[in-house]
């Protein structure tokens, strides 16, 4: 890790993606995308539905290969990898966070977090220790034995983040991670992402909510399969936001107490 100003970790060069090539239902989802992301950046990809941002996310996540162009990720050429090699890359370099959490049901938080290490062939002892460490990092050290249906949405997403982090990935990919969460929990998750970004992990986030994109240090806007805007900025700090909100709610609580006391006195 060389920090926020380090070398290029992700490099897309003139990437095209065409679905159903050669048929009548041909869809040109990506039309020549060239982007470089350096280590430690917090990038938000924005766009309306149908803009191609999901396709871009799938390519970045090594779930799919580009039709043409090249994609370098952490020194590997992804465009010509086999399915097995793609799986290996996902396991070793990437961590995924999904909108609907995608935890295995009826499986404990600890076992969910262990999953990526199972496919890496780690021994049970190592897996347990690292999964525990990862859950503690997201603040769920006390709930390791709980199954997803015993956890709140925010807690489930934190288990998913712990799962994404357990393999010590270089890139964390989050696809609408706050889409199913209320605003306070969303801010908490974004605070966690920012904390991870500060520790050197590259975060790439897909969202359609502008107030979520505010927490990123760089915003890419995709439209009709091309990048129409690429802007670096100073991010809003989610931790400050949380402080403000809790102060605000403290003020409201104090106001309520005061009103109540006045009412009592008047009686």
């Amino acid at each position: 890790m060389t920090g926020a100003t380090g070398d290029t970790l992700i490099e897309l060069r003139d990437v095209h993606k065409i679905y159903g090539q050669g048929t009548e239902a041909e869809v040109h989802a990506l039309r020549g995308i060239t982007v470089a992301i350096t280590r430690g950046e917090f990038v938000a990809i924005m766009g309306t539905s149908g803009s191609g941002k999901s396709t871009l996310m799938n390519l970045l996540g090594c779930l799919d290969r580009p039709t043409s162009g090249s994609y370098h990720l952490a020194g590997r050429e992804i465009a010509r990898m086999s399915k097995g090699e793609l799986a290996e890359t996902r396991n070793e370099v990437l961590g995924f966070v999904f909108q609907n959490f995608n935890l295995l049901s009826r499986t404990s938080a600890l076992e969910n977090v262990e999953l990526p290490l199972i496919y890496r062939g780690e021994k049970s002892k190592v897996r347990k220790a690292r999964a525990k460490e990862s859950l503690e990092r997201v603040g769920l050290g006390q709930r390791m034995g709980h199954t997803p249906n015993q956890l709140s949405g925010g807690q489930q997403q934190r288990v998913a983040i712990a799962r994404a982090l357990v393999g010590k990935p270089e890139v964390l990919l989050a696809d609408e991670p706050t889409g199913n969460l209320d605003s306070r929990t969303s801010t908490e998750v974004m605070a966690l992402f920012q904390e991870l970004g500060e520790s050197g992990i590259t975060v790439v986030l897909v969202t359609h909510e502008p107030d979520i994109a505010e927490y990123a240090s760089r915003v890419l806007v995709v439209k009709d399969g091309v990048v129409v805007s690429d802007e670096r900025k100073t991010p809003k700090r989610a931790a400050d936001e949380l402080d403000r909100v809790s102060q605000g709610s403290a003020a409201i609580a104090a106001q309520l107490a005061r009103t109540k006391a006045e009412a009592e006195a008047a009686r």
């Binding site: 779930l63 799986a87 999953l115």
Partner: protein, 409 residues
Amino acid sequence: MSPFQILLVAMRALWRNKLRSFLTTLGIIIGVGEVISMMAIGAGAKAQVESTFAAMGTNLLIVLPGAANTSGQRGGFGSGQTITWDDFSAIRDEVPTVKHAAPSLRSSQSIVAGEVNWTTSVTGTTPDYFDIRNWPVASGSAFTQSDIDAGTKVIILGQTVVEKLFGANADPVGQSVRVGTTPFNVIGVAAKKGQSASGQDYDDTAFLPATTFAQKIQGGLNRYLSGQIYVEAISSDATERAEKDVTALLRQRHHLTDRDDDDFSIRNLSEMADSRQQSADTMTALLASVAAVSLLVGGIGIMNIMLVSVTERTREIGVRMALGAKPYNVLLQFLTEALVLSMLGGLVGVIIGVGTAQWIAIRFGWATLVQPQVIMLSFAFSAFVGVVFGVYPARKASQLDPIEALRYE
């Protein structure tokens, strides 16, 4: 992923749908149980046929005299007197494929011991008879060649006769009995032999020296042997040769030309045993193939449920793939589930099959025989069914597109 880890994941997935897993396995349980119990019935029947013929004596030929022809009325085989004592000696001594030969002169006689009498089949024979029939003397001794030569009045009793005359578990050796009016000294008791295939009690019998029998019961020893000759071939493969050799010898001794029919007849018991054996084999094959079909149906049940499971768990497959599961990891996982289902079914099926075989033996009194190789085979077959019917769903799972799978609702 270690094999143990894969097994653990498979067991956990199956345990989540306990009832469904059990019902799926039921097909295999019934199939394997059926194969084992049916094969046990078949093998039991075959073993019974084998032991029945073994009790009669293996490699056995029976030579019967020809038919008497009294003024046009033909009496059937054994009614005439065409075989002489010299023919018997020639068969015994001159044919190289013959190991033993013994006469069997038979008559129904009343045997009296003190106040009690019992009518039974009395056989006059020579010591070789006991070798041919695999029928040792249990207590006392058999008669010897000198008893034959001297025509001594000794008798060997069968177990049933002992029981009827002296009571169960009595030892009559040394006692005296009368056959007709002649007193005989009991020198031995034949071993228990049980029943014939047609339910006849072999032990309801008594034996005398052949010469004594001819003199005292048939009314004098003459040239002709009034009875049958039991012939044992040197091996079961040589039985047919022995039959031909004895036929040739007797035809030559009786001066029969090519145009004459045999004036005797030879029965080949090993042929009968073979045909019985064959019918038992056919029955076993039939039962086993019915059972194998139900095992196959069980396999289709597994395939069906595995396909349902793959569809149901498409999202899970997508998640696992996103987290780094390679196609063969997914393939192995689903294949293992199918295998666990079928092999657990096989195991329970073996237990139920063996139990059923025992129960049938007790409840219906059928002879059943559970062979270890049948257990191994049907268990292996259930595993094979699991692999064959598990491959298609597992391949389907492993070839899912992770993007589609993650999006699947």
